[in-house]
């Protein structure tokens, strides 16, 4: 060990460190939580500190290397501006601008970005955008697309130069009002037969659409409010799962399988157990064998139960073999290496095309495999889908042309910068606390209980801030590892995935081979459309059915045909979801839908070219319109009972119109003069477009809850089970509550989520939070608002000089209850009255919401590219996305979601791919090979919101999209239309 003196933030620290100890480890031990772990190689940059004023990766530096140098961390930069009696300089201007511009989403990389930016501004007070992008190039951000961080730095630099900056631009364009679709008057209801022959009726009400210019006199909703968690995140506060220090904490490591398919014939952990500092080693012989699914979904999980905490069979390279807990990570790693294992290596299935062939090795041959629906492990079939809508064969027979093609989409990673992290410990009540980076805390609690053989009521799951998830944390992935080890040792255990583990032992997007067959008339009318998807779920079937179901459910629903086919479309969607000996697939942003739209949109383009049609006119001619039945709504609903759903609003045409205008489509598309790049004969410019329709939540299933409590000063505690993983959902939920209560957002203290304290919520997935959890918040806030009015009425009517006031006539605004006669009483006065003065009561309420529908958002994604016709290199120059996301609650957070989504889609299109060799070993295990976009190579990004809402609705709307991949929910309300069973 070495005794070092480190100069950190101008203070000297005496540190005892091993020679190989990184500066990152030393700083974290000292409590500088602002440095974050992103990867082992400094490629994420979330571990950035300033060393002698220069941004460096603390994980790549030895603590010893930093001795004698000046180390600066985010903790030095600024603090909350209100420190009670103590005067505070507040946040640094850079931090202020990161907060204002919406540059913070999950916030995991934010301290690093701020530090990198500070170095730039001190070196170059008037930086160009290129310089800013270069300075930030060492910090990967998976959330923002870098647009807003760059903007934040440029604005901060301007302010530091003493210049004025413009107010934050509202990214919502305000086009002229327009209407589209059938009239608003109700027409004859749609009637359907369900599987049992019952008649289902859906009221066919289609409201007028308009693009909102001034939707209503909203004070909080629709405004670019600062994120409620931004101030703490920009300071690098210990907000994330790993930012905790427990006495006697043990560190977990897992022995992973080196074989893609093998049976463990002998495992001997005695040497490992005997090592000093090792607290526990667990193998399959030590833990109960409980089949489960890792998929964070509602009960019952719509998929097979085919996972075990530990098993005597391994099914992919990276599968678990043993768990170790030790005093340090290094000892745990050594212990992992000391475990002796002998394997009977089995033939693996690595190509999904061979998975179901007769004689293929059976991956799940265990007797306790629990089927779901059509899963058949004897054929390596995790799930099967067979959907016929209308009469596809008749439709093909009526076609003038039939166009067929096959498309392939690769396996890609969520690549959230914060890895999976869990800390488990027994609390003073002998209840197991699981502090975890999850999108689904309530599902984790329910799912882990049987695995641990603990009653659910003895488990508490805490979800702190999440450093990005994108579906990767819609799993109960590593929580059981730490929990088993806590059970075994009685001590706190922390388990943090390395980046390598993220790549070979985590979840990813299902790769698929998709065959499309489309019948079309010469005028461009689609008569039938067929998709067959062969989907690779990897070694486990979590999300197998539902992800792939959505591949067809959304993408094959958009183009129904025209004329009579519009009334009765002919659609076929078949899918086989097969097991292979590769790391399991799972949920990833868009949840199967991008896999569908990639082939569908390429196919539409191909058809248009083949028929000589304008590709956009061809698409819109056949696209689903408002007032029409979602063709899949009667056919499939994620393993649940389907129910009819009418498309109430559809801004697709306007998305196309505005997107075309933004990119000057008519001047560029098919224009040979524009395609040529002057003086570069090997380059050609191109422009393209893809349309998309997504969904919002799972009807009749997804439920969110919220509770709201009034405090003495007129502020409110809003507790939600929803999980903000960087999306800004806490903020928009707070905005909705604030709107209804007539208070500013700062009066809403949002907390999420803790299974002991916050109401149930299914978690963050299915593009549902703003819609589902938002409606729950609206429900709770409405109840509280009603009670506030009744209290105000009591107060007003105590004065008999005035005419009595009715509660319904009282308006809540500007932190006051306003009587029609002009009197007002503050919310604080109401709070004191209710808590202390008369007829005391706690004003609070619980709300919840479950939607019978899944209102689809629509979008048009435009891209400009430059192609090198000699080498094939493609450079994407510009991306513009026009999105109909319903009512936009917060344009800054919503546009941030779109920008981040576009950037992930960009990587999916051009650089991201996971490949395995013939042994099943991953080619990509770091961010060198798995390349996600850096700030200095981004194309121009632009977001256009087309706001649609039904004029009858107040504080209701539909969802935003996330297929490429914005997420911007409107706030919810009551059910959108009645559903009756006759």
């Amino acid at each position: 060990m070495m005794d070092l003196e480190l100069l950190i933030n101008d203070e000297k620290y005496q540190v005892r460190a091993a020679p190989g100890e990184s500066l990152f480890q030393a700083l974290r031990k000292l409590g500088f939580w602002g440095v974050k772990f992103g990867d082992e190689h400094g490629l994420t940059g979330s571990d950035t500190v300033l060393l002698d004023g220069k941004p460096v990766n603390s994980i790549l530096l030895l603590a010893a290397q930093a001795e004698g140098r000046r180390i600066e961390t985010i903790e030095q930069m600024g603090e909350h501006p209100q420190q009670g009696w103590k005067e505070s300089p507040g946040l640094h201007i850079l931090q202020q601008e990161f907060v204002k511009t919406g540059a913070i989403q999950c916030g995991y990389c934010t301290p690093a970005m701020v530090l990198a930016a500070r170095e730039l501004i001190e070196r170059e007070p008037d930086p160009s955008e290129e310089q800013v992008r270069d300075a930030l190039s060492g910090v990967l951000c998976r959330c923002t697309g870098y647009k807003k961080p760059v903007e934040a730095v440029l604005r901060a630099a301007a302010r530091l130069r003493g210049e004025d900056v413009q107010p934050i631009e509202d990214p919502i364009k305000a086009p002229v009002e327009w209407t589209e679709g059938p009239p608003a008057e109700p027409s004859a209801p749609w009637q359907f037969k369900d599987a049992e022959g019952n008649t289902l009726t859906a009221e066919k009400v289609v409201s007028k659409l308009k693009v909102t210019t001034e939707p209503e006199a909203w004070q909080q909703v629709g405004k670019p409010k600062e994120k409620v968690d931004a101030v703490k995140l920009v300071q690098g506060k210990p907000a994330f799962a790993a930012d905790i220090d427990k006495r006697d904490m043990l560190y977990a490591k897992v022995l992973h399988s080196p074989h893609a398919h093998a049976r463990i014939t002998r495992i001997d952990a005695e040497k490992a157990r005997a090592m000093p500092g090792v607290a526990a080693v667990l193998t399959y012989q030590d833990v109960p064998r409980v089949p489960y699914s890792t998929a964070g979904q509602s009960d019952p999980i719509p998929g097979p139960l085919d996972c075990y905490s530990l098993d005597d069979k391994v099914r992919f390279v990276g599968d678990r073999v043993a768990f170790v807990a030790a005093e340090t990570e290094e000892i745990a790693e050594q212990a992992v290496r000391a475990i002796e294992v002998e394997y009977d290596v089995l033939e693996p299935v690595l190509d999904l095309r061979g998975a179901m062939k007769p004689g293929a090795p059976v991956i799940h041959d265990q007797e306790d495999y629990v089927n779901f629906d059509e899963s058949d492990p004897s054929r390596n079939l995790a799930a099967e889908i067979r959907i016929d809508i209308g009469d596809p064969e008749q439709g093909f027979a009526e076609a003038d042309e039939i166009i067929e093609a096959e498309y392939v989409v690769p396996k890609v990673q969520q690549a959230h910068i914060e890895p999976h992290v869990v800390v488990t410990y027994w609390d003073e009540d002998d209840r197991l606390v699981i502090r975890t980076s999850t999108q689904v805390p309530f599902h984790v609690r329910r799912m882990i209980a049987p695995v641990l053989d603990l009653p659910l009521k003895r488990i508490r799951v805490i979800k702190p801030r999440i450093g990005g998830g994108f579906g990767g944390k819609q799993e109960m992935l590593i929580d059981d590892v730490a929990a088993h080890l806590t059970l075994a040792t009685g001590r706190p255990v922390q388990y943090v995935f390395t980046r390598e583990e993220e790549f070979y032992a985590s979840r990813s997007r299902h790769p698929m081979r998709i065959r499309l067959k489309t019948g079309v008339k010469r005028d461009g009318t689609i008569t039938a459309n067929e998709m067959y998807a062969l989907s690779d779920t990897g070694a486990n079937g979590a999300h197998a059915l539902t992800v792939t179901g959505n591949t067809g459910h959304k993408s094959m629903a958009l183009y129904v045909g025209d004329g009579p086919y519009r009334e009765s479309p002919n659609i076929r969607f078949y899918a086989d979801i097969v097991y292979t000996n590769t790391p399991p697939s799972g949920a990833y942003r868009g949840y199967g839908v991008p896999q569908g739209y990639w082939p569908v949109e390429r196919h539409m383009e191909k058809i248009a070219h083949q028929l000589g049609l304008d590709p956009l006119e061809f698409r819109l001619k056949n696209a689903l319109r408002a007032g029409e039945l979602h063709p899949f709504s009667m056919a499939w609903s994620e393993g649940r009972e389907p129910s009819p759903e009418i498309i109430q609003t559809n801004g697709l045409v306007e998305c196309v119109r505005q997107g075309k205008e933004a990119v000057s489509w008519d001047q560029k598309y098919g224009n040979p003069d524009w395609q040529v790049v002057p003086d570069k004969p090997h380059l050609r410019r191109g422009i393209g477009v893809a349309l998309v329709m997504q969904g919002t939540a799972i009807p009749y299933l997804d439920m969110g809850g919220a509770s709201l409590k009034l405090n003495d000063d007129g502020s409110f505690n809003l507790l939600v089970g929803a999980t903000d993983l960087g999306t800004g959902s806490d903020t928009v939920l707070g905005q909705m509550a604030a709107e209804i209560l007539g208070v500013p957002l700062e009066d809403i203290i949002v907390y999420s989520s803790d299974t002991d304290f916050t109401p149930f919520d299914k978690g963050a997935y299915a593009s549902s939070t703003t819609y589902i959890s938002g409606a729950a918040v609206v429900d709770a806030a409405t109840k509280v608002a009603d009670r506030l009015r009744e209290r105000a009425q009591m107060i007003f009517n105590e004065n008999e000089e005035y005419d009595p006031v009715q509660a319904l006539d009282i308006e809540l605004s500007n932190r006051c209850a306003l009587a029609p006669d002009g009197r007002d009483v503050s919310i604080e006065q109401i709070a004191l009255h209710s808590l202390h003065h008369a007829d005391q009561e706690q004003i609070m309420a619980v709300g919840s919401f479950m939607s019978p529908v899944s209102p689809p958002p629509f979008g048009a994604q435009f891209a400009e590219v430059t192609v090198d016709v000699e080498t094939g290199q493609v450079v994407v120059d510009r991306l513009v996305m026009a999105v109909d996301g319903g009512v936009i609650v917060n344009p800054v957070t919503a546009s941030g979601q779109i920008e981040g989504g576009m950037t992930q889609a960009l990587g999916y299109a051009v650089s991201e791919e996971m490949v395995y060799d013939q042994r099943g070993w991953a080619r990509e295990v770091d961010f060198r090979d798995y390349h996600i976009f850096r700030s200095d190579e981004m194309p121009e990004l632009e977001t256009i919101f087309i706001e649609t809402f039904r004029t009858l609705a107040s504080l209701r709307g539909k969802s935003g999209g996330r297929n490429t991949h914005g997420r911007c929910r409107s706030c919810g309300g009551k059910r959108c239309f009645p559903r009756q069973r006759c």
Binding site: N57, E333, E870, V875, S911, D917, F933, D936
Partner: protein, 262 residues
């Protein structure tokens, strides 16, 4: 696993440490490679106090201290644009602050843009060994033998020739990604031309070192005829290499007499 850390203040002290029989002791420049976790136990010699971080203009050569960081090199005025391009492609701003020029060369694989460009320039490395006079060797002579050549040595300087025209071209999935194929060409006033290919394998490949550039494209295509892997087929790389080499040579067109452009 690093078991000892030393920060000597003299080269002699450093060389003594590097030449110990046990434990195996290596130079710690920036640490991008050395500080990675490994099972093997070894000691490191941190060279930050050895005054090896200067860049000196020596007329026909640019003398780059072994501990000069890539950012330090990038900040040097009038650096050839090809070198700038390769450095920016290889490392982000953060990593450029600690990655050293010498360390980057010693760690370069076939996909290293810096390795490809430096290999084209064929700089001289000056190294010292315990008790011996400094030795000058061309990078090209040692690049493939680094494993055997490096132990016990301390690289002190890299001498980059300045009277050379240089170009670098690449194909990658994104502008800042590792190259799938890349090419660097260096041309001296005499017409001597070196063409190096990268994007594949453990080392950059010398496609041509001749008195002129004659046949460079064909040489490039030939040099990558077997360069296939999961990232790209040999056929593609061979074709693309020829294209990139042609572009490199076109970029240097007219800059020196007798460049032999075909």
């Amino acid at each position: 696993m690093i078991v000892e850390y030393h920060r000597p203040s003299t080269r002699e002290e450093a060389l003594a440490l590097l030449n110990r029989p046990q434990p195996r002791t290596v130079v710690l420049g920036g640490g991008l490679e050395v500080n990675r976790k490994t099972r093997e136990q070894f000691a490191v010699v941190d060279i930050q106090n050895l005054d090896l971080d200067e860049i000196a203009d020596r007329g026909k050569t640019l003398a780059v201290g072994a501990a000069v960081t890539l950012q330090g090199l990038l900040d040097y005025p009038d650096l050839p644009s090809a070198l700038v391009k390769s450095i920016r492609q290889q490392e982000s701003y953060n990593r450029r602050q600690v990655a050293t020029a010498a360390g980057s060369l010693m760690a370069a694989d076939g996909r290293s843009p810096i390795g490809v460009v430096f290999y084209a320039l064929d700089p001289i490395l000056i190294s010292e060994q315990d008790g011996q006079d400094p030795v000058q060797e061309h990078l090209g002579d040692i690049l493939g033998l680094r494993g055997e050549w490096l132990p016990g040595k301390l690289i002190t300087e890299i001498l980059i020739p300045r009277n050379v025209q240089l170009a670098y071209e690449y194909v990658a999935r994104t502008p800042a990604d590792q190259p799938l194929v890349c090419a660097a060409a260096a041309q001296w006033a005499s017409g001597r031309t070196r063409v190096i290919l990268g994007g594949h394998g453990k080392l950059p490949v010398l496609a041509l070192d001749g008195p002129t550039a004659d046949g460079a494209e064909a040489a490039a295509a030939d040099a990558y005829r077997e360069a296939g892997d999961q990232w790209g087929s040999a056929e593609y790389r061979s074709d693309a290499a020829a294209v990139l080499v042609r572009r490199c040579l076109e970029k240097m067109d007219g800059l020196s007499e007798g460049n032999g452009k075909s």
